[in-house]
């Protein structure tokens, strides 16, 4: 197992009087090495809180999160830094997650500098690594010294992926990586993610509210609703034979591009 989440509960606002808000309620799931795990849910269901807990950007109220056997929330700061080099994240909004004032070279090499203990490199080696990464995500060497505003949304997301891959992580958290993109661009980014997984043997933790995207990318899926996992299992099982009412509702609500499947279409 690459990532094991056991009975994780997160309650916000317990310090004041009152019960607080339960953002995650007894969540358990495990992600196999080399697989893609999808997490689906509506806004406010706790998807992002869970990623923050995995990255230890939020503390847990109870439960454990183990990454390759190590309890993430029990590690020292230095140990956590080493874990972070192997556990990277790609953010949702490619327009907000890149610093507009520094070049692509500097953006992608930043994690290499932060994790210099884990991946020691000279500055020339860093530049070579950045070039290699750009090629890997389908950009080229000439993009090296440009600024984020010179790129389209899809290209920026590729830069975000290159940055996440810089320190050669094994585990990638993808927090709605394509929801800000056009469908045509989304298709290209999803195919890129497929290719990178095959080439580098990555493990994905993929968050989305788009069930089509989840089915396309993931092997296993968990459906989260108001902080609780209502259903999880292999993607085909969940999609073809949903057991939970909420999952069924989500599947039905997803608009299919086939006009004949519309619930509104009058019989003509």
């Amino acid at each position: 197992m690459s990532l094991e989440i056991k009975n994780v509960t997160k309650i916000f606002g317990t310090s004041r009087k009152g019960e607080g808000f339960t953002a995650l309620d007894d969540v358990s799931l495990s992600v196999k090495k080399g697989s893609s795990f999808g997490l689906v849910g509506e806004s406010g269901s706790g998807k992002t809180t869970l990623t923050k807990c995995i990255l230890r950007l939020e503390s847990l109220t109870s439960g454990t999160i183990r990454f390759e056997g190590k309890d993430i929330h029990a590690l020292s700061k230095a140990e956590m830094r080493r874990v972070r080099a192997r556990l990277q994240i790609v953010f949702q909004d490619p327009y907000a997650s890149l610093n507009p004032r520094i070049t692509i070279h500097d953006i992608i090499s930043e994690p290499l500098i932060i994790h210099r203990e884990t991946v020691p490199m000279s500055s020339r080696q860093r530049t070579e690594r950045v070039e290699e990464l750009l090629l890997q995500v389908g950009l080229s060497r000439e993009h090296l010294f440009r600024y984020p505003h010179e790129f389209s949304g899809g290209q920026r997301q590729r830069i975000g992926i290159a940055r996440a891959l810089a320190v050669k992580p094994e585990f990638l958290i993808l927090d709605e990586p394509t929801s800000a993109l056009d469908v045509s661009v989304q298709a290209e980014v999803l195919n890129l993610l497929h290719r990178l997984q095959d080439e580098l043997g990555l493990t994905y933790f993929f968050i989305s509210h788009d069930l089509g995207v989840i089915r396309y990318v993931c092997d296993e899926v968990a459906v989260i609703y108001r902080g609780k996992l209502v259903e999880q299992g292999p993607v085909d099982d969940i999609f073809d034979h949903p057991k939970d009412d909420y999952t069924r509702m989500l599947l039905n609500a997803m608009p299919d591009p086939d006009p004949d499947l519309s619930p509104f279409r009058r019989v003509e």
Partner: protein, 295 residues
Amino acid sequence: MALLDIQNLQLAMRSYEGETQILHGIDLKIERGEIWGMVGETGSGKSLTGLSVSRLIPSPPGRYLAGNIDFGGKDLLKASDRDMRALRGRHIGMIFQDPTTNLNPVFRIGTQLVDVALHAGHDDPSILGLSKGASRSAMKKAARKTAIEMLDKVGIPDAATRIDDYPHQFSGGMRQRVLIAMAMIGKPDLLIADEPTTALDVSVQAQILRLIHDLVAERNIGVLLITHNLGVVAQICSHVAVMYRGRILESGPVREVLKHPSHVYTQALLDSVPTVHTKRGELRGLSGLSPEAFA
């Protein structure tokens, strides 16, 4: 006569680098009872087409090179600002993408709705159920009543008390319902909805689509629905126009266009939508197809 008839609409925008033509001759005819979907990628000009109909593109930087937009026997491109103000909200309703920014946070929902109702009522008091020459206080009273009825209609529970809430007390889906109520309060003949469900969850999206669908069935209005989501188009639209770089590549009844696309671009766009049936490796982007192939 068609409800809305756009002919050869050509729009150019001025920037520091000179003038660029954005719309290269748009032709579109919307009849009552039709829901027209306008799909395309970012920057294809679908929003600017919608904004042109309500004449919300400032000039400069915008400049219409040619074309006309006939609505109710008038060419909107030649209409005065005064005429347009009378049309907007009253005959042309509009809903925009982001329900969080389109309501004023410092005014109650009711205040904002009543404002629109009064504006429409000045033009035609029958909207508020009054005859001409009604007193100001009667107008205000009737406007509030109409606002509550409208909120109720779009499915806000307990509308009579929720009307005095502020926007932040409403969820995203509820705010979008308020915006739809606001757009429908003047009983418009044409509704322009620019990405009305893009910011919403799928379950809420389904509810909003049903609402729009029911409004069309009930009031026999025409709708121009701008979206990049082909699924949404397939669900509720009767017709669809596919836009690319300021041109309509293909348009017609939704089943015809989506089931048997005659244009490579439409097919490519359809191939890039992951559905619950798409298997790994089947998805195609648009790379490899040159822009010239679509022209």
